[in-house]
Symmetry: C2
Subunit: 178 residues, 2 copies
Amino acid sequence: MIVIKQKTKRNLNISGNRGMELESSINDSNSFYNEKKISYIYKKPTPIKVVTLNGKVITKAFFEGDSTLDYCGIYCKKFIEFEAKSTKSKTSFPLKNIAEHQLNHLLLINKLGGISFLIIEFAALNEYYLLSCSILENFILNSRHKSIKIDFFIKNAIKIKQGYHPRLYYLEALDSLL
Amino acid sequence: MIVIKQKTKRNLNISGNRGMELESSINDSNSFYNEKKISYIYKKPTPIKVVTLNGKVITKAFFEGDSTLDYCGIYCKKFIEFEAKSTKSKTSFPLKNIAEHQLNHLLLINKLGGISFLIIEFAALNEYYLLSCSILENFILNSRHKSIKIDFFIKNAIKIKQGYHPRLYYLEALDSLL
């Protein structure tokens, strides 16, 4: 039996390439923006099927279904959905970090008129980029590369400014897409 | 210890005034609309904090935080969020069925430019209504009544047509708000 203090094992699996720090930075940023009531963006809870309860304690339950993207909400009257990923590479972001169902979901939200994107952390460079779904789709359609080089991010993604609170000014970065 | 087959005890508490049938009808309608890719609307998972895992089985966990509204998604490029409630009364819908934090959340989404509303089932009449957040807010501001009479729904809400699949044509009802 494993005791988990901070997050579930499944979350650790799902976000193995995201990193706790990135998640914490995004949660901090969401708190900042949501408190100011300029957005309402939240981390989607993992779907869990509860089987048995003892008082208020869940004593048997299972993870269920595929999770889609991690974050969802409303900003500038728009439906927002995005995934956050971290890489230790200094030169490129491996596309295998995005599961096929996540890519399909990004494309679906984009098609429905929502704003879907990735937030990519280059941990070793301490740089963060917001990559729009359309540019990601274009890259995948027109390239056979299995990773996206940092130069591509510099040219085609939006660099996210960092601060204390919010840790990541990602909605300001998003503004240039709206 | 209680064994729960269909849903969690907390869900039963939260939706004690919603009714399983209404939830099932809405889930069926969402499947119908989402499969046609005219929307992506889903029931929000209940936030659960996992403490211990034994293989793939969660052996200790707790419900955490206040749930907000039950359903969320995108339709017609708009951010949608709504709550579904059922009443057995033939004459009125008691406002106590809406928790204060739910009402505040409806108002917040409306203010941010999203579309927030209630779906109310009058189970004994087999009638369903979509009540917009703005009309609900207006009612609460201008009335001291603790319930909304069926006549108010007939005049001010949108009656939802019923079918086999989707069970509730609630997005067609919503069209008149957009």
